[in-house]
């Protein structure tokens, strides 16, 4: 259900140029700050741009950011985690210390720092979020690998002379993948929220990019004059996408660990 919402969102957003003719960047001085109507389902903003078109474009950006960050950070983080879990003592120690340094930053603040350092923009914001989420993947993967590695059946397989490659593929990977999936779903929603947050304070996508967080900023001054629709709709988009990903994370967790059913469905 949650995944369904995300997929439906994605299909709608990415097919939008086919069925919704209005450009997210086209201004229309004749229809400035129009309330939601039949022609403009989510109204228009202060330069007459169609909020619905911008909303759909924002969905494309947010979903792409969420997916991109989750995958990039996942590949690097899980790789480092496996390396640490299977590697020799000093590799593991060195990696752990390195990750500790990154973990010394609150994630959003690190993303801020990287964006400031590399230059403000959507891409650098994403890069910042990728870097700040890598250690979480790595840590969780590493502890999973260590757990599986010392499990009786893996030690038995090694003792029986099963080649390491095969042990990793047959025994370790299947155990680690669900954990990574859960982390990916969590990262997905964190990334969407963070990019929007950075956009909101001016460190992410720049005006007039139709990114949801930036759109909220643009609309925030219009709020006071009663033109609520400019900020409200992108916020709702954020809420739905993030909540769906959070619910999906819970579902994956339950599927991955049948014993945890009670705990995770309720918590």
């Amino acid at each position: 259900m949650a995944v369904g919402i995300l997929v439906a969102f994605a299909v709608l957003a990415f097919s939008a140029p086919l069925w919704y003719g209005i450009s997210p960047l086209a201004t229309d001085p004749a229809h400035v700050l129009g309330a939601p109507s039949f022609a403009h389902p989510m109204g228009t903003d202060d330069v007459g741009r169609d909020v619905f078109a911008r909303f759909l474009a924002g969905a494309r950006i947010s979903l792409a950011v969420g997916l991109g960050v989750a995958v990039c950070a996942g590949v690097v983080g899980a790789g480092l985690g496996v390396l640490g879990g299977l590697g020799s003592g000093w590799v593991d120690t060195a990696l752990s210390r390195l990750l500790d340094m990154v973990l010394a930053f609150p994630p959003l603040i690190l993303a801020m720092a990287i964006t400031v350092g590399l230059g403000v923009g959507l891409i650098t914001a994403c890069l910042g979020i990728v870097l700040s989420t890598i250690p979480y993947y790595a840590r969780i993967t590493r502890s999973d690998v260590l757990r599986v590695r010392s499990a009786g059946y893996v030690e038995a397989a090694v003792a029986l002379g099963v080649p390491p490659r095969r042990v990793i593929r047959r025994h370790i990977v299947p155990h680690v993948v669900p954990t990574i999936l859960v982390q990916a779903a969590t990262t997905f929603s964190f990334a969407i929220l963070s990019v929007a947050g950075l956009g909101f304070i001016g460190l992410g996508a720049q005006i007039p990019t139709p990114e949801w967080g930036t759109m909220v900023t643009e609309g925030s001054s219009l709020f006071i004059s009663g033109h609520w629709w400019v900020s409200t709709f992108p916020g709702i988009g954020l809420l739905i996408a993030t909540a769906a990903a959070a619910v999906a994370a819970d579902r994956v967790r339950v599927l991955a660990d049948p014993h945890a059913t009670v705990r995770t469905t309720l918590a």
Binding site: R97, P107, I109, T242
Partner: protein, 343 residues
């Protein structure tokens, strides 16, 4: 015990040093020449060279790092490029407002999380639980800055029960001394009930918005931990002594479930730090978060840099303290630690 503390402390120090290197490297490549930012577009090359020398920008990277760290430790955090005011003064003068907001947000969030998690666990209450879970999901998913705008629109502009986004207190009220910097305390100390009421009404919305995510996170964590404890036989034994179910859960299930929840303190702090940046701007709150957002807008990166380093240091310090606290609070770890130290 000493060995344990020493080990944790050294790990924390390594983290902080590493973090400072990362912060330095990242921010040193920051675009925009600080000299140009400070001196303006019409500075002569000679002025710029002079500025670079004065600020150590002509040194090699290692020397620059050393200069940055040694100055930072001694309290010299540089000057605001925009206003020329020392960054440390700026941050410290803005700190009480942020701390007051964050503490209030944390207080309600923690209290509500504990009460609701207990209420959903000590007896089976499917309906209450479903609704609380739904709100918790929304609380985690809602972008705080957007929620802040909605709250302002609904409760301040439309209904008018709360004041608009004009900071911590009604500016037209007569001034009173600020010995602690926390306006809730200061107004009470000054015996100014009108000011106190104004402070409270200004605090409600931002504290609510900032605390919502913390509440949702703590609630879900505590609830999961409580469920694990709920079937422990010792709870039944406590009840068999004639202790009521609520009291049993309060006195025995909560401490047992709360210990693992302690480890989340770091993430809660992270949420509050990040959230204050996002929320303060909306409410025009005179805190650190608002300062940082303004600084970003004006490319006044010395402020951002100091904020980032201080955040990381606080974050590491809190995680370190939680580690220690965990050892002190949980008798099992306490013993293990003491034994470990004796060997």
């Amino acid at each position: 015990m000493i060995a344990f503390v020493a080990r944790r402390l050294s790990l924390a120090l390594i983290s902080i040093v590493g973090a400072s290197v990362i912060a330095f490297v990242i921010l040193r490549v920051a675009p925009g020449d600080p000299a140009r930012l400070v001196l303006g577009q019409f500075a002569t090359p000679a002025q710029i060279a002079q500025f670079r020398r004065a600020n150590g920008l002509d040194l090699n990277l290692a020397a620059q790092y050393w200069r940055f760290v040694s100055r930072f430790v001694t309290g010299d955090w540089g000057f605001s490029y925009g206003s020329g005011v020392p960054v440390r003064h700026l941050l410290i003068s803005r700190l009480p407002a942020t701390v007051e907001l964050a503490l209030t947000a944390f207080a309600w969030a923690a209290a509500a999380a504990v009460l609701l998690a207990l209420a959903c666990t000590y007896r089976t209450r499917p309906r209450l639980e479903r609704s609380v879970n739904a709100v918790a999901f929304a609380g985690l998913a809602a972008p705080p800055f957007w929620l802040a705008l909605l709250a302002l629109l609904a409760l301040s502009l439309k209904i008018g029960i709360f004041p608009g986004p004009d900071g911590q207190i009604n500016a037209r009220l007569a001034a009173f001394p600020h010995p602690t910097g926390f306006l809730l305390l200061d107004s009470l100390l000054a015996g100014r009930l009108d000011a106190f009421a104004s402070v409270v009404s200004h605090l409600v919305l931002p504290a609510f918005v900032l605390g919502l995510g913390v509440w949702a996170y703590l609630y879900r964590l505590l609830r999961a931990n409580l469920l694990e404890v709920a079937n422990e036989p010792f709870l039944m034994v406590v009840e068999s002594k004639g202790i009521g179910r609520w009291t049993t859960f309060w006195r025995h299930a909560l401490p047992n479930a709360g210990l693992p929840t302690l480890t989340a303190a770091g993430l809660v702090l992270a949420w509050l730090l990040g959230g204050s940046v996002l929320v303060e701007a909306v409410f025009d709150w005179p805190g650190v978060g608002g300062l940082v957002v303004d600084a970003v807008g004006q490319k006044d990166y010395s402020i951002v840099q100091a904020f980032i380093v201080v955040s990381a240091a606080t974050y590491v310090a809190v995680n370190f303290l939680v580690d220690l606290l965990y050892g002190v609070v949980d008798p099992r770890i306490r013993t293990a630690v003491n034994h470990g130290a004796q060997q």
